[in-house]
Symmetry: C2
Subunit: 255 residues, 2 copies
């Protein structure tokens, strides 16, 4: 299982990922940042494949993913699987603004993960929003952005070709990881098997494999051992009709 380290995954927890991410949405006070960093004190480790949230479970213990990747998915009785969303380091999950909500999907770890209890954050913004204006705003923005990514996913799967989909997916992951400093302008580490990616993109493994090869042949990406290098990010974005979700707009509107 040492695969994961080789894939460019830094397995040491960084307490500041979420602060870094939320800072994109709103100005955070020192006390707010301290609160976020204090979450790192109560962490848990889970192995790859372990179930983090069961479908139907009461969402009463929000968590923060510190390290590794997880996903939300559903399977059909015959085994076909659709992955809805990848959960990346610095992401909240099982985090719902509505009280007493129920998990609509299962969540599993795709790599070994370290998660932290995020209830202090949830408490801060639900019980005492007034004294945590930045956190409150940023959490709202995060939830909105999650929705936006889900809609992107639907457009990809519903209306784009395998070639476009794959390009779009890579760009989106790069963008999301870049927000927490885990991806550069033109490279990302994606620690997923092609089977998992295929389940997210609504493709068969074989076809995804051929699509990736096509992207390589066309000098758009390099893909070796989980590291993706974007050779022509601009061109890739055109092919995929990739438009960065208007984070700034969301943030500005919330301001």
């Amino acid at each position: 299982m040492e695969r994961w380290r080789a894939l460019g995954l830094d397995t040491s927890p960084h307490a500041d990922l979420i602060a870094q991410r939320l800072s994109h949405f709103s100005e955070l006070s020192g006390r707010e940042i301290a609160l976020l960093e204090s979450l790192a004190q109560r962490t848990d480790e889970s192995t790859a494949g372990s179930e983090l949230i069961r479908e139907g479970q009461l969402l009463d213990s929000p968590r923060l993913l510190m390290t590794g990747w997880a996903c939300r998915y559903r399977t059909l009785p015959d085994g076909r699987r659709q992955i809805f969303k990848f959960i990346l380091p610095g992401d909240l999950f099982g985090f719902c603004l509505r009280p007493k909500a129920v998990a609509l999907t299962a969540t599993i770890a795709l790599t070994p993960v370290v998660t932290a209890d995020a209830s202090p954050l949830a408490t801060a913004i639900t019980r005492d929003a007034a004294s945590h204006p930045g956190l409150t705003q940023a959490c709202y923005a995060t939830v909105g952005l999650d929705e936006a990514y889900l809609l992107n996913q639907l457009v990809r799967v519903g209306r784009q070709t395998a070639y476009e989909r794959t390009a779009h997916f890579i760009l989106e992951i790069r963008e999301r990881l870049a927000m927490v400093g885990l991806a550069g302008e033109a490279s990302v580490a994606i620690p997923l098997t092609q089977e998992i990616m295929a389940d997210a993109l609504g493709l068969s493994v074989v076809h995804l494999n051929r699509t990736l090869q096509q992207l390589r042949r066309n000098q758009l990406i390099e893909f070796k051992g989980g590291m993706v290098r974007l050779l022509q990010p601009q061109r890739l974005a055109e092919i995929a009709n990739f438009r960065a979700p208007h984070v700034t707009e969301i943030a500005r509107a919330a301001a």
Copy 2:
């Protein structure tokens, strides 16, 4: 444009649709029901095709659809369109629990529609939730259910065949309309062109047409002039892997 009446659409606004719908999620007091019914006093009419919400617009005026159908969608630069969600009579739209949220998609009327201002409802549950416990709970449940439908949509489009998708779609619409008394056990009025349905299901019009014919040939549905009759609902549900979203579970958990 008299198409719409012929399609089984009752164009007379029913003030009680939303009360009927929300009652499925939570017990509503007389005062709460009165509030819902009072929304019908401030209505607007829009023609088919008119834009109800612009993408990027600030979501500061939630509305209730009283009559007709609308949808949320996005188009790619080359014209391909993905419909995310159909908005049915008794549905809220532009309704977001987060303050100062921005519309992530456009919303247009697919038929002539009558909409009502739902801000009194929004105000009631945000400013004075304590004295409207039933409404508050029911609105939360509604938002959760919307999420569930979006996930269903993703599974359909990502992992089901055209045949399964179409069956699943019909069942879901029937179920949703049945909640407001606009569909029977085995029949629904669906006032959509095949092009619109195709855009929701991620199919070409031609293929959707053939898929519908296949469902007819197999004695699963009748489909004439917008009226769908389910000849073997049980069989259809098996084919589609249709499972009613656990509304009761959501409601019970929220209780």
